[in-house]
Point group: C2
Chain length 223, copies 2
């Protein structure tokens, strides 16, 4: 049963976004629902990584996806085809999600029945890094064609994330992208970060990533 819900969100200027995010996290803990905030540049592969993750974990976890987009529903439509409920947040011109927007996205979902909700944030390496969405973990994707200098140029994003997926490793054959240099640059910014090399096209590396995510969800739910 595929389903898409469309919600128009508007930015409220909350001095207390952090407080809202903390309150949301408490609610998620009470419901044992793990919320993952997935960020990246436009076109780094957020939607296809989510599709692969659904494929890998759908027998183990009850999932839903919140899609943020400025002005389209194409990603939510792709998710809904898997039979997973997708909530589409249409952000108008806004360039990031905050905790209130995520709360609106969660409104129609039955948190008690969900183990994992993945937020696909707006494609942007700058603004989303500055707003706590209330998520339990922050993840980002850097895709090989974007280049290995991105940790130097967008350091905050690499600093706030718990996990980095280096995606599109199937492009490495055509690229001078230096995986080792990226790992070093990222570890310098954020020594605790977990890094996976994946290809959402071929599926390479997705198993390891999904296994890690499953373990995080399980620990959260039993903790």
């Amino acid at each position: 049963m595929e389903e898409i819900r469309l919600i128009e969100v508007k930015e409220e200027i909350h001095a207390d976004n952090k407080a809202k995010a903390d309150a949301l996290r408490k609610r998620l803990m009470a419901n044992k629902t793990f919320l993952l905030n997935l960020m990246s540049s436009p076109g780094a592969g957020k939607t296809t990584v989510i599709l692969r993750t659904i494929e890998a974990l759908r027998n183990d976890l009850h999932m839903s996806v919140i899609e943020a987009d400025i002005d389209s529903m194409v990603d939510a439509e792709k998710i809904a085809k898997t039979g997973i409920t997708a909530v589409q947040l249409r952000t108008g011109g806004f360039c990031h999600l905050d905790a209130s927007m995520v709360e609106r996205g969660l409104e129609g979902l039955d948190l008690g029945s969900l183990d994992l909700v993945i937020i696909e944030n707006v494609g942007n390496l700058v603004c989303p890094a500055e707003f706590d969405t209330g998520a339990i973990r922050n993840a980002m994707i850097l895709s090989v064609p974007e280049g290995d200098d991105k940790p130097l140029k967008y350091p905050l994003m690499f600093t706030v994330c718990d996990v980095l997926l280096i995606n599109k490793i199937d492009y490495l054959q055509l690229s001078d992208f230096d995986v080792r240099a990226v790992r070093e640059r990222v570890m310098r910014l954020n020594p605790g970060i977990k890094i996976f090399e994946v290809s959402s096209k071929t599926g390479q590396g997705i198993g390891d990533w999904a296994q890690w995510l499953k373990k995080e969800v399980d620990e959260f739910r039993s903790g």
Copy 2:
């Protein structure tokens, strides 16, 4: 003689950004200096396109480049190696340039001696589209690995630009990117837009783009 200047910019909230941008355009017209605002996602190839453009036009035009970056100087260093003066605007956390920031970037340059100044905006498909920088023309790059759905998801950017470079066409062999679909989606948003297919890696298509830009600069300067 390579040269880099570093300027820290901070966002001022100008209700009158548009007025500032118009005033800047008047100044540019008086000096016959063409200002090109180049925008794209992170890693779409702005810097390499600029390097190719310098290579193609350096015998015909006096040029300078303004680099906007959140927290590094790597792009300005690459430009400066060509012998072209590069001004580095360090934007802190800001996700776009406005007309005041560009004005600060132009401060140290002798506009009267420059035919063309290229602004490399912050890598972001959302916010930069909303701010008039004072440029004479707006250009954007969409790179093949980002996917052909970007005009659906970031329509404003494709609407405000005079020219679109579809970059990294050397990746088409590994990609299901549909060039014709992109052309149709973009023309629907912006029928007057000029589109070039290029590879900043191999140089393919750069000649046509540089020729178009040269013609725009010449017409502006003689107009």
